[in-house]
Symmetry: C2
Subunit: 139 residues, 2 copies
């Protein structure tokens, strides 16, 4: 596992330091679209010397190297995702959990953007997830 992550990082010109490996591993194992703080709180338990700045720096580096994407579905804090393929996200207004949404391949018809050059697509939805709907929580 670690070996594979090391290779992937190297491929993207990211030196595979111990912290970087752990952070990337967190992203792909949890698949929970975490905030900086979520990553930090989890990893600091096994790496007591970890600094939150390092998590910021590392995720910023991953962004620049294109191995993670930034998700701004939460107004308060940035979330990150190691799945860089084109897909949407759903954030439950009740429990706050973020889900992946598969997009149909034929899903797109945008008008009047022929002269624009699109580098990033962000597709977000908000509402109630199945579990919270069942519970009827708050609503």
């Amino acid at each position: 596992m670690t070996k594979q992550i090391e290779q992937l990082l190297r491929m993207h010109i990211v030196r595979p330091s111990h912290h970087r490996i752990k952070i990337y591993q967190y992203l792909i194992e949890k698949r929970n679209h975490p905030s900086v703080d979520m990553v930090y709180q989890e990893l600091v338990r096994t790496i007591p010397t970890l600094s939150k700045t390092t998590v910021y720096n590392t995720l910023q580096l991953f962004l620049e190297k294109g191995i993670v994407i930034m998700i701004t579905i939460d107004e308060n804090e940035t979330r990150y995702d190691a799945d860089t393929s084109l897909h949407g996200h759903f954030r439950c207004s009740s429990c706050g959990k973020i889900f992946d949404i598969r997009l149909g391949t034929d899903a797109w018809r945008l008008d009047g953007i022929d002269d624009f050059e699109i580098n990033e697509s962000h597709i977000y939805f908000k509402g109630w997830c199945p579990e919270c709907r069942k519970k009827g929580a708050l609503q």
Copy 2:
């Protein structure tokens, strides 16, 4: 003009105070997806006593009443839009301007979300606008 805005605000159970009318008028006349600060800087020129907190409070109220939407396409500050219809946005990475993107009516095919209840849709793109592409700025 003012009369129409007053009616619209009243219809949505928003008392049409002087400040609220001016802020709403700014949104629909400029159509520039402004930040709180952009609204404030423009309006404080004619309303010297205006407080930035009032702009925050008012836009928050408009949000709750459903007459504006929040746009989180800019990582630093929230933008607002008085066009509440379903449409996308494009933010130019060079000049920072935000454009409206019309979405084809047949544009949607989402998989596996039948059990989700969607209340909001956010469709953002980032890249280069036509003008900045011509200029070849930075790129």
